[in-house]
Point group: C2
Chain length 252, copies 2
DNA sequence: TACCCTAATATTGTCAACAATCGGACGACA
DNA sequence: TGTCGTCCGATTGTTGACAATATTAGGGTA
């Protein structure tokens, strides 16, 4: 899963950049649970920095919709809801469908070969694990990531890869994603690549939309059998770094 | 054009909020031309505030893609390009198509009546001005705004109304939008409302997508005849508030 | 004259202290 | 006993000063 969000190489990395990247990872991977209140003095002392860059980082997290902020009250990590996840899937259906169409129009033959190679790698791993962990290994997101990049639409790429992508990862960390669809999803990926290789934009969009819609419906079913009513991921509200089991954070 | 972005009523409006709203308006309406370097000390003294909340506001502008920032160098208002505008239209085609579909599924009968009333109001104004100013008066954006809100998808609403909407307005202020399509656009709006009233989601999406696609193609033609090669809106780079003709800014 | 290196300057990034605001606890009163 | 008002503590918002970095002007050399 190389260079998912390559902020590397760009000279001049500020302190706020690093703490932002770090906080985002901590939030997405569940280290800071959703619903947690973000205490500025606490986090600042933990990271050994001032509140200035920290506030900057929190502001960016708010822009990514990873934290919610109320004036004079504070910021807290978003509470993931079933409704929001479904909305996210609807958005992806529209946006990634568009990405697939553009990719079919503009993707270079060389990149298509790369995409095929990626799928073969997934197949090797998938065969080993009998399709139980396609979503957990981020292989699914990796595939979608490439399609999006191949669309060539800068604004679309930023939107999906900088914001929605991290939210999807957060949901996957919170609710362990269903594996029942892993093999099906893998095959659908293959169909998408075929449509792109055939230079059939409408078909590529159609399959991609159906692919994401199927995922959404699968998630809906999962929710319905687990928790009939719209349930939140983390009922308990804990304070950030209340359990500093990992000790002080390493230097930025 | 009431309550386009009603931040009213929410208690606790911070200083950064106000300067953000103000800077955004100044940028969108061209008061601060695109390409302008944002000087923090300059603006801070002009607004009579410290650099802290100003930096916060600039950070939010960056999140809206209204300014671009490079570490240790500074922020400058985005340069609008032809390519970016076309990308924006493509995004809108996908997103607002989705919005129209959802609106057809979920919009209340009362809201549909409101929408019809809005169109009648537009017609009265349009008849007066013989279809020369449908875009300039923001009537077009107002209509789209309502459809988006009616979709009920919170994430979609935030994305379109908080970010893309202001960018579209900015483009309209920079390049005075074409009026040749005004009457056609108005009629297409009517067809969209009909599809929604018929509870025909697929039709609503189809018409909306064609509607936006037509706008895009119209813009493309406009560009081609005006400037054959991809040209920028503002060739000259000026410094912000270099011409403080309006004097000092009113208090926040 | 063109190029490179150096130094001055201005701007941004960061820090620590001050002011404003909110949430919760305590106590008074119906 | 329940509810309202007030006070206190803590957190956030804001400010001005300090440090680090990039841009620009100038001089020296090939």
């Amino acid at each position: 899963m190389p260079d998912l969000n390559d902020q590397l190489g760009q000279q001049g990395v500020t302190l706020a950049d690093r703490v932002f990247a770090r906080l985002r990872q901590a939030i997405v991977e569940g280290e800071i649970p959703s619903g947690t209140k973000i205490s500025e003095p606490e986090l600042a002392s933990e990271y050994g920095i001032s509140r200035g860059p920290l506030r900057d980082a929190i502001g960016r997290l708010e822009a990514c919709h990873l934290v919610e902020r109320r004036p004079n009250v504070g910021a807290r990590v978003v509470s993931l809801t079933q409704e929001d996840l479904l909305e996210l899937y609807l958005l992806r259906e529209a946006l990634e469908g568009m990405a697939a169409r553009l990719a079919a129009e503009r993707m270079s033959g060389r990149d298509i070969d790369e995409l095929r190679k990626l799928l073969r790698q997934h197949q090797e791993r998938a065969e080993l694990q009998e399709g139980i962990a396609y979503f957990q290994t981020e292989g699914d997101l990796d595939f979608h990531y490439r399609i999006i990049k191949a669309s060539g639409n800068v604004r679309l790429i930023k939107l999906l890869c900088d914001d929605l992508y991290h939210l999807m990862r957060m949901y996957r960390f919170q609710f362990g994603m269903a594996s029942s669809r892993a093999l099906i999803a893998f095959r659908e990926h293959g169909h998408i690549v075929e449509a792109i290789a055939d230079r059939d934009p409408e078909m590529a969009e159609l399959i991609m939309r159906r692919h994401i819609r199927s995922s959404r419906i699968n998630v809906e079913l999962l929710f319905d059998e687990k928790a009939p009513k719209g349930a939140r991921a983390t009922p308990a509200i804990r304070s950030a770094s209340a359990d500093s089991s990992a000790g002080a954070a390493p230097p930025l």
